[in-house]
Symmetry: C2
Subunit: 202 residues, 2 copies
DNA sequence: CGCGTGATTGAAACCCTTCAAGTTTAGTGG
DNA sequence: CCACTAAACTTGAAGGGTTTCAATCACGCG
């Protein structure tokens, strides 16, 4: 139930851990940075950033699952990214240029997110060489991941993409409805259903 | 002719301009950084980085046009990115993790490229706050551009993708053969030919 | 229990690919 | 500068993968 989840506010547990363990930021630096970020609870289905809005945050997922997507002229959703725990997500164009957001961001599960604004990144980069290097690598890995996805879309079949997906994100197939995975893969739910039957019976 | 182009070595003209004008790096900082980069001439068709190789550079295109692509099991090329003048390109996974490159990089025209290694980026970030901020934005813009491309691939038709392409990169259609544009768009050369006829006669 | 959402299945249609042939264009050597 | 050749582009016909539309089934939740 929603209230329950909300009562158990995670108090930046994962975020703290992430910064120290993965990014290598010293605990002192982390504590110095925490005052300038805020924690937000998002109920399942809540739209965090809407296309056309001007937001000011990048989000880090403490708990739960976000969904980054767009809606085309025919009203069809196209999912660009899932963001489970320990992921960063935002409409980066919006964030950096104060342009209206091109994509939507909403909560696929009840979630806790850390909201980070420009000044957090400026301060963190100023303060910690480790953060700087880590953040740089984070962006580069995302670029790389996206090139792989582009290749999958231009170079492989729906079936191959599905098989890669379940290998890469085995947990997600438990957590999101099939039609969203189809959307992520760039096919219809019907096609995914057929692909799955084919894959199962081999 | 090759020799001629080589004789006219551009001596970091665009690179210098780029760092001062676009990245906002001070001329003194630029001059301090230049000794640690090198200029390389690439003959049309030359493979700069091959899949499986371990490279150490990120490239900035002074002059010419590079092509970033992969080759699938059936020997078919899939172009992930064109890099004309003033573009940065590399197999970033390879660069950062010293992993074997997953993609190929070659010269589509006789080109001059600036080779930048890890230490350049470390020094530049150390030295110039402007470079740091700019490089960060550069990566974020690339991420954004790639999300757009993913959307185009999962959400729009071959025809729409082609029309977007000529709007976004009008110069490239003059400079690369049609079959490469088809490859970039994720369709066959035959399909692109038909799409073009359709678009022309409307 | 009934309703809504998600998953499956079938049949027809569609977009794009494949394969094969023909045409145009561009590059090279004489 | 022409002739020759290879590469690129176009066109057609057939085939395949995926979509669309419609109907049915399964399930969780009030």
């Amino acid at each position: 139930m929603v209230k329950t989840a909300k009562q158990m506010a995670p108090e930046f547990r994962k975020f703290r851990e992430y910064l120290t363990q993965r990014a290598g930021v010293s605990p002192e630096h982390v504590e110095a940075l925490l005052p300038s970020v805020s924690l937000k609870f998002c109920k399942k289905g809540e739209v965090i950033l809407a296309q056309g809005a001007v937001g000011e945050y990048i989000y880090f997922v403490e708990q739960g699952l976000l969904r980054f997507y767009t809606i085309d002229d025919q009203g069809k959703e196209h999912i660009l990214q899932f963001a489970p725990e320990n992921w960063w997500i935002s409409d980066r164009n919006n964030f950096n240029q104060n342009q209206p957001a091109e994509f939507f961001l909403d909560a696929q599960e009840d979630s806790w997110v850390v909201q980070l604004n420009q000044s957090f990144f400026l301060k963190a980069s100023e303060m910690s060489k480790e953060f700087r290097a880590f953040h740089d690598q984070l962006l580069q890995r995302r670029i790389f991941q996206l090139y792989r996805r582009v290749y999958a879309l231009i170079g492989t079949s729906a079936r191959q993409r599905y098989e890669e997906f379940i290998k890469a994100y085995p947990d997600l197939i438990q957590r999101v409805p099939q039609w969203m995975i189809a959307s992520y893969l760039g096919i219809t739910p019907e096609s995914l259903s057929r692909v799955r039957r084919e894959v199962a019976g081999k």
